[in-house]
């Protein structure tokens, strides 16, 4: 059966996905849980070192009832969304504008590379001295971590567009604005998509680390205080949630976005 509408296509692909992976996944989860339980049973003091899956599940129910888990989760997610949105919205035009002129682009390329290599976590101590252990600190670190990878990637993308496309557009009488809109922006599109995914990936890790270091409530804070107060169940619960959140973000949002962008814009003949 050939699917017709977009919705049908989506459901169809979902079904295909389920057919292949569901069985494997179920077996895998069961095997993991059994192995985990066996290890947990065989060591001394499992409550401290490796609580059994049942204990983790119980603690998750407990935290859900108390309403802690949803509040931590939403705190972390809001931080990630706000921070990376600011970083992306500022970073994409920044990279494009710098890329307009080859000289300027060559000028700023090493600098962006430098700041991209200084990870957000590394500048965290500086920001702490400036703003203290506050939400602002965490936000600045996230914005910083998401801004530079995207700006660097956009700039690289613009620089890699073959000159003849720009020249062709110019020859046909395009204005500077038209060149930007019709050549540079679409040409840099695959890089923008890759950079977005990279940016959000780095930002996600920065959120977790920032919450741990600055002591702001959220998933990172939850696993960090779990270590202080000997609640290993909370640590494992937090790790599982962090893992699942990122899988959902990456596999169902960012990767399809990247793939469709590359499919749509990426097949530029060199």
């Amino acid at each position: 059966m050939q699917p017709r509408s977009k919705l049908e296509k989506f459901i169809w692909s979902l079904q295909q996905l389920m057919k292949i992976d569901a069985m494997n996944l179920v077996i895998l989860v069961i095997v993991t849980l059994i192995g985990w339980s066996i290890i947990s049973e065989s060591i001394d003091n499992p409550g401290r070192y490796l609580p059994s899956p049942v204990a983790v599940a119980l603690s998750s129910v407990d935290m859900l009832v108390k309403g802690l888990l949803p509040s931590y989760f939403s705190d972390t997610l809001v931080r990630l969304i706000v921070g990376s949105a600011i970083g992306l919205v500022a970073g994409i035009p920044f990279g494009l504008i710098l890329g307009l002129n080859r000289t300027v682009a060559d000028m700023f390329h090493p600098m962006l590379n430098f700041f991209q290599s200084v990870s957000g976590i590394a500048i965290f101590p500086i920001i702490v001295i400036w703003y203290g252990n506050s939400d602002t600190t965490v936000l600045i670190v996230i914005v910083y971590t998401s801004f530079f990878p995207i700006a660097f990637n956009v700039l690289s993308g613009v620089r890699e567009i073959p000159l003849r496309y720009i020249n062709a557009a110019r020859t046909l009488g395009a204005s500077r604005y038209q060149v930007t809109k019709d050549v540079l922006f679409p040409g840099a599109m695959p890089h923008i998509a890759t950079g977005t995914r990279l940016s959000i990936g780095f930002a996600w890790r920065a959120v977790i680390a920032g919450e741990m270091l600055a002591g702001r409530q959220g998933l990172g804070w939850m696993i960090f205080t779990g270590q202080d107060s000997d609640k290993t169940t909370e640590i494992i619960l937090g790790m599982v949630m962090i893992g699942f959140t990122w899988i959902i973000l990456d596999h169902y949002l960012l990767r399809p976005l990247e793939e469709s962008t590359i499919e749509r814009w990426g097949l530029v003949q060199r």
């Binding site: 992976d21 494997n24 000028m107 976590i121 590394a122 101590p125 500086i126 702490v128 290993t232 640590i235």
Partner: protein, 286 residues
């Protein structure tokens, strides 16, 4: 004037016009940034508690090295040679994690990729492990190993290993079965298939994974040293920040960036380029 132009021409011949232009242009923003930094100390826009002077940052190197009793303690990572001890212990962990983690990840990844059903089975494991790898392991690592170098090494190894495992597994899986079959048809052994088909075929993917794993691993290491370490650059800048020694923080951040850029530029990028040139253009049957 003539001398000057001759000098510039000889420079251009020696280093290449394009490269010279790029280097000169690239240094402009850094110079501007440094002048703004210096202007800040002269005019005092931001107080010195927030932004140290360039001189202070430079002096911090010697201040940290002050108590160092000589060359041998420096090598032995004596606690009195703060600067070199922290830099070397970070570097040592990176190298150790790379030496252990990269081959282990590649080997197990290739083994997992060899059998398609198994690799399909293990793919979710890789996806999940990569999603929580690095920073999220820090609290559990502290519970298991306590604060110290084992924790930091564990975090770095964890990050590197899973990325390498996943990338080499996907790399092997993406090789067309035709190659494998043709080697087997011509009488090759299983080992021949690994050496002649899997390894070269997965190489581009492996190298990309290597670059990624060093990037993510280095970041995770810094965070791990801050939270659960007792030495290393991350530890150094975190403790300095707690004592409001901003010049040491700046120094640490600059050193970190320089180390990372140097490894990326002189080791990983050339490696990636070489591999893509050598192995990357594998013909893929439709």
């Amino acid at each position: 004037m003539k001398l000057l132009s001759q000098f510039s021409i000889s420079l251009q011949r020696r280093f290449g016009r394009q490269r010279l232009r790029k280097t000169l242009l690239g240094s402009v923003p850094f110079l501007v940034l440094i002048s703004i930094w210096h202007a800040n100390t002269i005019f005092g826009w931001l107080p010195p508690v927030f932004v140290p002077t360039i001189g202070e940052v430079w002096d911090a190197i010697f201040f940290l090295q002050e108590d160092c009793p000589g060359f041998m303690p420096l090598i032995k990572l004596d606690n009195d040679c703060m600067m070199t001890t922290h830099v070397l212990s970070s570097l040592g962990r990176v190298i150790l994690a790379a030496v252990v983690g990269l081959p282990a990840g590649i080997a197990l990844g290739i083994l997992a990729g060899m059998s398609r059903p198994i690799s399909k089975f293990l793919e979710p494991v890789g996806v999940f492990a990569n999603s929580i790898s690095g920073i999220a392991w820090i609290p559990l690592a502290i519970v298991w190993f306590g604060v110290g170098w084992v924790t930091t090494l564990f975090i770095m190894l964890n990050t590197i290993f899973w990325l390498m495992f996943f990338n080499s597994m996907l790399g092997v899986r993406s090789i067309a079965k035709v190659y494998e079959d043709s080697v087997l048809t011509m009488g090759g052994s299983r080992w021949d298939v690994i050496r002649q088909v899997y390894l070269p075929g997965a190489m581009p993917s492996i190298i990309t994974g290597m670059r990624m794993s060093m990037g993510f691993g280095w970041r995770a290491l810094i965070a791990a040293e801050m939270i659960g370490g007792d030495s290393g650059l991350g530890f150094m800048i975190f403790t300095s920040a707690a004592e409001f020694k901003i010049e040491e923080v700046f120094l640490g951040v600059i050193i970190m960036a320089l180390i990372f850029m140097a490894t990326d530029r002189y080791l990983l990028v050339p490696l990636e380029k070489w591999t893509v040139e050598r192995w990357g253009l594998v013909w893929k049957p439709a």
